[in-house]
């Protein structure tokens, strides 16, 4: 049993090399342990004081988000909430205000739940995860990170230090939409993200769709077949593809048939919202509140 408070990334890496598990906000790890999901690991290294992992920086390729940036920070960030709007949509839906102030982006990704809300938007934006250990640093395309529910391809001693997202080309943007039974403290029954790039004539130049909670890991599809089509056709087709690709389960939250149907609805709405943003429209974060159900009365 050990509990280390890391003050530098190197201290954290050393602790992890010695077998400690990273704990950031603890909103998955500690809450899960209290609910009997998995016992708290015997050796922990607290990384929450690593200020170097708390910043958002623009680079020549796009943006780098430190692993400890919280959902609240993302939701409020001027650049992320506009140019990377799908990510902000996802973060803005996480839990409650207190969950969003404590929970981190790194924790959300590394927890690898198929219901995580930032996974699908990051995947459609082709984010890369930077992992670091005492042995060195490497970058992994985010889709290659998740291998099964709760499992990643990261080695146990690898710390996620940053999430890198390529800058969106002009006339492109993203959106993330989630089925919600209530407005806070939800967990995705299904969700869908879309990244849309538009040609000058308003037709699709690129379309990628990511699906939450309908398969063991986040599903992502590059719908190259939709290039050149109208947004409305592409949205319909994205819905169809999503329903076909989904392998949902039946559980206490929803039946498989309802999940399959609604993931199509979410995918279509995500494409439509992303396309509106790509065309220059501002839709408030999270898009869930601004479109369809959940709109302000």
């Amino acid at each position: 049993m050990s509990f280390t408070i890391a003050h530098t990334v190197d201290e954290a890496l050393a602790a992890m090399a010695a077998g400690a598990r990273a704990i950031a906000g603890g909103t998955d790890l500690v809450v899960g342990a209290r609910h009997g999901k998995a016992a708290l690991p015997g050796n922990l290294v607290a990384i929450d004081r690593l200020t170097e992992l708390k910043s958002v920086t623009t680079t020549k390729d796009g943006v780098s988000i430190g692993a400890l940036v919280t959902h609240h920070d993302i939701e409020m960030h001027p650049l992320l909430s506009t140019s990377y709007a799908g990510l902000a949509d996802g973060s803005a839906l996480v839990g409650s205000p207190s969950t969003r102030h404590i929970g981190t982006l790194g924790g959300n990704i590394m927890n690898a739940s198929p219901a995580m809300d930032t996974g699908a938007p990051l995947a459609v934006m082709r984010a890369e995860i930077e992992l670091r250990s005492v042995r060195g640093s490497r970058r992994v395309p985010i889709e290659e990170l998740w291998t099964a529910p709760g499992k990643t391809s990261a080695q146990p001693d690898e710390l996620c230090v940053a999430i890198h997202i390529p800058a969106p080309a002009t006339r492109s943007n993203s959106a993330y939409v989630r089925l919600e039974y209530r407005r806070a403290m939800e967990i995705a029954v299904v969700g869908a993200a879309a990244f849309v790039a538009l040609n000058d004539d308003g037709t699709i130049a690129a379309l990628r769709v990511g699906l939450t909670a309908v398969s063991p890991t986040i599903f992502t599809g590059d719908l190259v077949g939709q290039i050149g089509r109208s947004v409305s056709d592409a949205a319909e087709n994205a819905a169809k593809v999503s329903m076909e690709q989904a392998t949902p389960i039946s559980d206490v939250r929803a039946s498989d048939s309802y999940r399959r149907h609604t993931v199509g609805v979410m995918a279509r709405r995500a494409v439509e919202a992303a396309a509106r943003r790509a065309a220059g429209e501002t839709i408030a974060i999270p898009v869930n509140r601004a479109i369809g159900i959940g709109a302000a009365s």
Binding site: Y181, V252, Y258, I293, S297
Partner: protein, 765 residues
Amino acid sequence: MTPSATAQATTRRFVRADGPDKVTGSGRYTADLSLTGTLVAKFRYAQVSHARITKLDVSAARAMPGVFAVITDADVPDVRFGPMVQDRRLFARDVVRFEGEIVAAVAAVDAETAQRAVDAIVVEYSPLPIVNDVESALSPDSPLVHEDWADYGAPGVMVRNRNDASYASIAKGDVDKALAEADFVVRSHYESDGCHAAPIEPRAVVAQWEGNKVTIWTSTQVPFDARAGVCETLELPSSRVRIIVPHLGGGFGGKCGFHYEAHVAALARIAKRPVKLVFSRREEFLAPDKRREGIVYDFETGVKADGTIIARKARLVIDNGAYTADAGFFSQLAAMHALGPYKIPNVLSEAHLAYTNHQPSGSVRAPTAPQTCWALESHTDEVANKLGMDPVAFRKLNAVDSNVEGPSGQTYGEIGVQQCIDAATAAAGYGKPLADDEAIGVAIGWWPSFASASGAYIKIDGDGSGQIITGAQECGTGAVMTLRQLAADELGMQPEDFELVYQDTSAAPYDMGATGSQTLFNNGRAVIAAAGQIADQLRELAANKLEAAAADIVLADGMAHVAGSPDRGVAIAKLAATAANGELLIGHGSGPPPPAAKAVGNTCVGDIGMTAWRAPQFSCHAVRVRLDRETGVVRVLRVSTAHDSGTIINHTGAQGQVEGGVMMGIGQALTEGTKYDDQARQRNAALLEYKLQTCADAPPIDVQFVEIYTPDAGPRGAKSLAEAPNVATAAAIGNAIAKLVGSPVRRLPMTAERVWETINAGNAS
């Protein structure tokens, strides 16, 4: 007091006494208590829904270091108990009947040791057939939940038969003949799932023995009932049992009845140490014999072409769960709600309370009412649609009114149901154009007021401040908080001049507790009577000082003065100082409960006294919703309410009650429902899967009161209020959804998926 005399007193707003403690976190709840040497209690639950115990061996658990007591049925008196049907024991004997039934209890030095000891208890079962469905529970070939049901003690009026724990009917006129004569007959079937009280504070109990007396701190809504339960099951006189309730973190009925006080007291006696039990959220879902009952409904209503209702038949089967708890009267209460506040000449309403292997049902806020109102009011809209009548006009035509006979033969005095319909629909903008996919649903509901014996003391100290020592229990409604206002008004003082002393059964006189919306209704009477005694004393003292007649002394604004001469006065504090050196200012009050109401002309079987309601309350809720047609997700946009609860004594508190009741109703309507697996175990016993509404979901809520001074009711012409606001919300939401979908969603809660299925069924046909 006359209605006009109350006007000035009732407009005062003040901060409730427990508010700052609760908001700042300085308030202390049962789980916060620590006594020297306290042990931790944990229970071993059945975990299976119906089985015979073939082996129960606690020896290994008892032998573990750090374990001070392990007890089972063998270690407590041989008592079968239950408020109506005596069908329950503290610990399972021979048979377990639901997953949350307690088989054994452990007290150990810490939670981990207690849990290890619980796990070390060996229990073996041989399975018995599980009754998982209310309707089949009543079939003659259903397995019995209680083989020995016929031997159980129960009041003579209860009609029981095998799994039917309580049958009740309300019959009036000739319903079959009237149905045959009707121009239209509409039949409907509905089902509602069970749901939970879900208070924010999971329950906690601490027990400590000193000599042969036990003090129990417990998160109960009904301290005197809890004491009675301990006395009955542990065979103790009430003089040896003292119940204290620190701040209570909500109850909503779930903390009514007698729960684990006796288990913890029995552990503490054997362990010879104080013992503390604190429930986890999961236990709070699974174990208490209190959750809102699921019901299956069949309605048949006959109407004339002009829209008048001439006949109604209703048949309800209520899920009692494995033990009857306080649900024995639910059959007749539900039978009343199935008739609703309508003037119907010919009725037959029958309700059965069916044993199943589910968690027992019990009084959760307005038991049987919100779900039965939902079913009946959905049916009412179906009838109106059949007639081609506007549902609000149909209700106005058929609803009861002042001095009109209701469905069970009771004639009401002055009541405000018609005004409630007008006020709520006007606030909602009913009839005005709406946005796409929006609709307004309307429902009316009713709920009785309950009379009970109730007592309080008041004393005024030498410095002129006082204490109200009351038997009433505050469960969050603010009813106890409002007692200060009543005392202040009687004595011409301020609410802030009084401290409330509650809850200690050894200090205060009896009160029924925070149940049946009865606190202010009955304890208010007690406090006014107690304050009246002190007022008389003060008038005597002032009369001596001011050389006037006692009858001419007026108590107002902290002064006693001669009527008509505000200058000839003396401060009440001064009189109190005088009294402190002479005859002390002490008042005690109770007062006779208001008389019972009468029903005439009905013939009932299994009459549990619920066919006539004392000071019935009426309400109308009009709810605007928006439907997402593609997903079935419904959002409530605005809830407009109007309530007739008689005179409103504390407007701030009353508004809070309505808002809270509405939020609970929205949850019941859309997201809150227990799901069972095929082994009758709950599938969603957690707050993520059992979805309460959150602050973020709260819509704007309009609160209006139709204030009618009601004689033979509570203080100053008040009726009750705590439960009533929970009655009509789900029903109004259901009717709004039905307008958008084209047919009602026939199962409660109307989850997004169920709404979607109903839309699809409509599209398919």
